[in-house]
Amino acid sequence: MSSLCSVGKRVPKIDAVDKATGRAQYIQDLKVAGMLYGKILYSKYPHARIANINTSRAKALPGVRCVLTGDDIPDIKMGVYKDNRPLKKGKVCSYRDEVAAVAATDPETARQALNLIEVTYESLPAIFDPEEAMKEGAPLVHEEHKTNVLRMPWKLHYGDVEAARKEAAFSVADRFSTTWVTHCCMGTSGAIAEFDPANNLTIHSNTQIPSLAQKDFQDALLTMGLKERRVRVIKPVIGGGFGSKLDTYAYEYIAILLAFHTRRPVKVEFTRSEEFIATSTRQPTITYISQGCDQNGKLLYRDISMILDNGAYTSWGATTPSVMMMPITSLYRVPNVRYEAKCVYTNNTYAQAMRGYGNPQATFAIECAMDMLAEKTGIDPIEFRRINANQPGDVSPQGLRITTCGLEECVEAVKDKLEWQKPRRHAEGVGLASLIHVGGGARVYKSDGCGTIIKMDDFGKIDLFTGATDMGQGSDTVIAQIVAEELGLRIEDIHVIHSDTDICPWDVGAHASRTTFVAGNAALGAAKKIKSRILELGAKELETPLEKLILKDRSIVHRDDPEKRIEIARLLRKAHFSHGGQMMMAEYFYDPANENLGKDFRGNMSVTYTFGTHGVRVKVDEETGKIEILKYVAAHDVGKAINPMLLEGQVYGGVMMGLGYALTEQVILEKGENMNPNFRDYKILTAKDVVPIEAPVLETYDKAGPFGAKGIGEPGCVPSAPAVANAIYDAIGVRIKDLPITPERVLAAIREKQGLDPCGQELGKEGAGECIIEE
């Protein structure tokens, strides 16, 4: 392992030069000859009946080729529970509902046409609070369901929580909440759809799930009466994903429908405010947690119930409990666990996948409660984690099989690098939080596989076709490194193609931090096949036993006699230009040996798990409530850093996203309406907000991973919020249980602790609390 040439090196991304020179083509940059521009009209109410839509004036505008409403389209059902349609029919259930769509010769005409569509709404009573929406008599978002509570299976109970609660020497219980935040990909959403004369569809789209999208679009074509047509999904360079492209969306179906009706390619491209309003958020949560341990600090039980604001339609947000189960049952060793999550319809926006997929939300509650419990026992938070740390070989109550696990070492790293024992200065504190995440794929669907095809040419150059999706994180580069290592080639010899379902094999999607692990193993499998054929040819050519040969420096070389060698390219040309020539190609489909969750949600969802611990040193300004991060340590057990530079990039990016989640970001919805659909008022962090981050990496060499690697895409943003919340508590003794941790919340909490209302008036006295203006 120590003589690796490519793996383990800080190799620049293979697409970086194109991106640095402006050559990379994003969806914004693509034009197809004869293309029309599509635009979408959104609802003006959070909940209303559509009494009438008059599109005649819009249709009459010169340059408009097509106007569609919900009545003009077949019943295409979208979303994980199929309760959504690309254009709504009959009623609207949120401000982001798509009511009509226009295709025109240019974007300005399309925009003007939207203004000419006359929609008559009959407003209906709306509901915005999920806990209120659960009550009898609350307005129903989808009347046909007779209730706002979705029929979801999210319920598990391992062991006996009640018995454990009675036995526990110490217990804590509290309520935590997280709100809507959004991905803020710098490249906005967009798609170009076009049909050929036989009604085969080609769609250019920023998708993280090209193969699944293909299936979704095929289903849509069926619904449109188009049987047995081909669907080709082409990915342009993607301007950021973070989970925002893990489903198929209304705007894609709208592009398809407009293209079908106009017989022209149609491009739909979001403006920034549309991106904020009409794309989905992270799943908000209300969590009631109780947790208890024995005299010695060993966890005995964890009992969690959650209420999830499902918004108007069901998307991946409603399935986040299936991932939240992972930290709930398996972050630290806890023998008795109970979890229930209710998803509730409201007239708010709806959530889908976002980096971490529920893990940040659950870990916030769990790790804050861990600190609260540690305090009750009188045990130092670091020690408390160590007492309960997962160990290699554990099988958690959910059935997760822990193989490599560097959790304890990560905790140690945080303690060391944060100088945990250093005496605190006034209003300064330290806090930590750990994470567990899937690191070896995740069997969310029936397949967790990824295919790779390798073609090697007579010049010793490789074209590698992968189903994986590189959305900027660098999976193409990591795959190239793996193959270069296996075949003794250089990175520049490997050309990775991932962009086209006509060419590339199947992959389930760039989710669950699985790409390095699964696509890496798939590439490695194909490369191994190529390697053995090259070695066979080499053995014959060099008249040497196969076992004595290695691939190195683009050549086949005798291990003990380096003079005995031949360039791979030359060998291949010799083999090719002779009788019985063969292609040098190989394919491999890797589907990890993980399990679907059973009906009781038990199952080893991933082949291995990534662990990490984040620690923060903060300084609280007690007069303003502002938090200064003095130092951030993010330690991760990654198995093997195939590319340390790209791995750091995932960690730094994850940490800054996590800090935004903890401190500054929120989608502000007022009665369902997005009040901050812009970068002015939605506060993602800037370069001036960067904090000192140290990112130590632990390599535990998981044998299941390519060269020992596990996934790292998501872990970087999972425990930031609880680490910060715990540090604030350490600094000034106040615990903020609702994200984001704004200065107002901190100041109000400081004053409350002092027995004052937020403006400094003594509680209980006349006038206390009056300074806060009620809405």
Binding site: E108, E623, T624, G625, L663, T664, I668, E670, M675, N676, F679, R680, D681, K683, L685, T686, A687, K688, D689, T742, P743, E744, L747, P758, C759, G760, C771, I772, I773, E775
Partner: protein, 294 residues
């Protein structure tokens, strides 16, 4: 974007007559970073945009050596003010504010005049200037007039300009000896912020370098327009500047403010921050005054 015709007058008179001849459909534009955003958002749809960028004038702040006044032309960019050694050395409160407005890209193009005329409550440009007792020169069909910048703002987005008038210059009077000043913008992140609150404090000290001879406390986003907390100012004049007097002044300034809830911040918190930040900027102004004296 909607079509408009772009006009490029070379003199103020030319600009005024163009504006007059195109009536309601005419709008002045300087850097464009406010006007173009409004046009994009559909809040403005002028037929004629009259650019003031090419009108000959000074491109940076300059000091009238005779009168000791600092002149800043309305069409000077924020970047030029930010980079001005004169401003950095002698008017630190202005530098404090200007360097944090928007981004380098915005400051390279946006003008101080455009900022003032935009008249938003979150007036990072206006607060330090009011704290320095600035006045503005205005030129129109009826000739030139002058007014205190404090009186220039009438309401959110509204300033005291007749149709066709142009704000041409900002004039800052000479400062008393032993003067220090400071500004802070209170926000959630360190850049690209529209403030929740802006606080500017100026203190001029007597010869003993402890007693206040003059005080100015100016608040942004604490009312529909920039305001001076005159009650708080008066509390400081003639007093020794210390923790207690500054804390008192802060509390009074808080009471004088007319804060409200918005998506950027809640009223109670803004009011609390007035008190905290007036005190802090008071100390900073004091420190700067002391440093200058040495």
């Amino acid at each position: 974007m909607k079509n408009f015709t772009y006009l490029l007058p070379r003199t103020l008179d030319e600009a005024i007559s163009m504006h007059a001849s195109h009536g309601e459909g005419a709008k002045y534009v300087a850097g464009g970073t406010d006007v173009l955003v409004k046009i994009n958002e559909g809040k403005l749809s002028p037929d004629y945009l009259i650019s003031l960028r090419h009108i000959i004038g000074q491109d940076r702040p300059f000091l009238n050596q005779e009168t000791g006044e600092l002149y800043i032309g309305a069409f000077v960019t924020h970047r030029a003010i930010e980079k001005s050694p004169l401003v950095q050395a002698n008017y630190p409160i202005l530098h404090d504010a200007i360097k944090n407005i928007g981004s380098v890209q915005i400051r390279n193009v946006a003008t101080i005049g455009g900022n003032l005329v935009n008249a938003v409550p979150s007036a990072d440009g206006a607060i330090p200037l009011i704290t320095l007792d600035a006045s503005v020169n205005i030129y129109g069909a009826k000739g030139q007039r002058s007014m205190e910048l404090l009186r220039f703002f009438l309401g959110p987005g509204q300033c005291d300009l007749e149709r066709g008038e142009i704000l041409t210059e900002i004039v800052i009077p000479p400062q008393l000896p032993h003067t220090g000043s400071a500004y802070v913008k209170h926000g959630r992140r360190e850049a690209m912020e529209l403030p929740m609150l802006g606080v500017g404090v100026l203190l001029s000290l007597e010869e003993d370098l402890r007693t206040c001879a003059k005080a100015r406390i100016c608040l942004g986003v604490a009312a529909p327009t920039p305001i001076r907390a005159m009650g708080a100012e008066q509390r400081l004049v003639g007093k020794i500047i210390d923790e207690n007097t500054l804390a008192e002044a802060g509390t009074i300034a808080g009471e004088e403010s007319r804060v409200r809830d918005s998506i950027r911040g809640v009223a109670w918190y803004r009011r609390e921050m007035v008190a905290v930040l007036v005190k802090r900027m008071g100390f900073k102004a004091l420190e700067r005054a002391e440093r200058r004296a040495r």
